[in-house]
């Protein structure tokens, strides 16, 4: 058991170190986020009055598409150098390897959120409260586990850029339903923040369990 955790952390550390040395993904995602906010500004007519009702939608749209870009890259290095096969040939369990990849991808997405949330507050004047940050972070955990599962799947499929969004987006919708509600309430809409957060935690637990069960079938191929 400890061995599995050690493997997962080692894989995550490898991915994060590779990102730190190349510094490709997070800067690219940060720029993607800024550009998306610029587009949102022109797409909607945003002013101080309607910002709290529009900003949550922008937040989730940008986050979802940034996440797709991030998870699309999660297995890129492995694919380009055919190192996933080498990883899987080691005695380490596929689930531990998957968990490591997922942890690293989650942290990279959190890095992108660290740009998105302040930028949203800065450009649209919405509150950057603990509640907003908590909702986004809790949603990220479950979304990342699903995103990483399907990223592992499409890594060995033709037309993977097409398939990843088509598979991932429908399964992310529960997180958007609950996370959208939580952020809307945190930005002043009526509703129950606690209920939405409880739902997000439930989804996290459910999808973490399911993806760890499914990871074996996806990676062990």
């Amino acid at each position: 058991m400890t061995n599995s955790f050690a493997v997962a952390f080692a894989v995550a550390r490898k991915d994060l170190r590779a990102e730190w040395r190349t510094r490709e993904l997070v800067p690219a995602l940060a720029q993607f986020v800024i550009l998306a906010l610029v587009i949102a500004n022109f797409g909607f007519q945003i002013d101080a009055r309607n910002a709290p009702s529009i900003a949550p939608g922008i937040l989730w749209l940008v986050l979802v598409f940034a996440g797709l870009v991030a998870f699309g890259r999660a297995f890129a290095a492995e694919r380009e150098q055919a190192s996933l096969e080498a990883l899987l040939m080691t005695p380490a369990s596929p689930v531990a390897i998957f968990a490591g990849k997922a942890m690293a991808a989650t942290l990279l997405l959190v890095g992108c959120e660290a740009v998105l949330l302040p930028a949203l507050a800065l450009f649209f004047g919405t509150p950057l409260s603990v509640q907003v940050v908590a909702a986004v972070f809790v949603a990220t955990i479950g979304m990342a586990s699903l995103g990483c599962l399907f990223a592992a799947m499409v890594a060995r499929v033709r037309a993977r850029e097409l398939l990843l969004p088509l598979l991932t987006l429908p399964l992310w919708i529960p997180f958007i339903v609950a996370g959208g509600q939580a952020v809307q309430v945190a930005m002043g809409a009526s509703g129950s923040y606690d209920q939405a957060m409880a739902l997000l935690v439930d989804f996290d637990i459910l999808f973490l369990v399911l993806t760890s069960l499914a990871a074996r079938f996806v990676l062990d191929e």
Partner: protein
């Protein structure tokens, strides 16, 4: 190779398909001739019978995908995988029917084709998930990889739908609830509904079986091609011509 004569008799798949079509005509007769016209909504309420039956047939077909996928992941049964493939396609067809008929019904009654109601939203999500399932099947390498990946998508998809449904329903709803179990229908309508549902389920089952047959034949064709195709992967370099 034997060539079948052109005037071949109907095989059992043809006969099953003809029977299913005949049953649907019976159901149509019941819907338009036997069932009374709704006092409030008028004739448009007759959409109800096929709309709800198609939805139930779609759920049944997706249950086949779920069970087939789970069995495939457990023991690699090709039969289970082919049934899953057949169920996904048939379920997608019936989901499309449900959505389109629902929209046609909603326009005169709700005044709009679409509203972001729990039932409508989750059905649309259902549609996208199984469209994705079929795309995985097409894009992944045929055989083990496609079957495994699709099984995972099918299982996640089946779980996702009730989640979307209930998470949305906790905040807003417009679609009517279950009226069958609430005993809100007059007996003629109830009889027509159950007849239509039975006929639709027969139709769906026949479609799954025919699709299963097609998948079996396609697998066989793939096998034949694989056996007879020349091996081109490990071609040796040709010898230099000697002058």
């Amino acid at each position: 190779m034997k060539v079948r004569p052109a005037r071949a008799r109907l095989n059992r798949y043809d006969r099953a398909a003809a029977a299913a079509v005949a049953l649907m005509l019976v159901a149509a007769a019941a819907i338009f001739l036997y069932a009374p016209t709704d006092a409030l909504q008028g004739p448009v309420q007759r959409i109800f019978y096929l709309h709800v039956s198609a939805a139930i047939a779609a759920y049944g077909a997706f249950a086949v995908v779920l069970v087939g996928g789970a069995i495939y992941l457990r023991n690699g049964s090709l039969v289970a995988d082919r049934f899953a493939r057949a169920g996904a396609l048939v379920g997608l067809v019936f989901t499309t029917v449900t959505l389109v008929m629902g929209m046609l019904w909603a326009k005169p009654i709700w005044g709009t084709y679409w509203t972001w109601d729990a039932r409508l939203t989750s059905t649309l999500v259902l549609w996208t998930i199984y469209a994705g399932y079929l795309l995985v099947r097409r894009l992944a390498e045929p055989g083990r990889q496609a079957a495994r990946f699709a099984a995972v998508v099918g299982i996640f998809g089946f779980i996702d739908v009730p989640i979307v449904h209930f998470s949305v329903t906790w905040w807003q709803t417009q679609h009517p609830g279950p009226i069958i179990v609430n005993d809100a229908l007059p007996p003629e309508m109830l009889a027509t509904f159950f007849l239509t549902m039975a006929c639709t389920l027969v139709l769906a089952a026949v479609m799954v079986v025919i699709r299963y047959r097609i998948e079996t034949l396609a697998d066989g064709a793939l096998q034949t091609v694989a056996e007879h195709a020349p091996i081109v992967t490990a071609r040796e370099p040709e010898a230099e011509p000697v002058n």
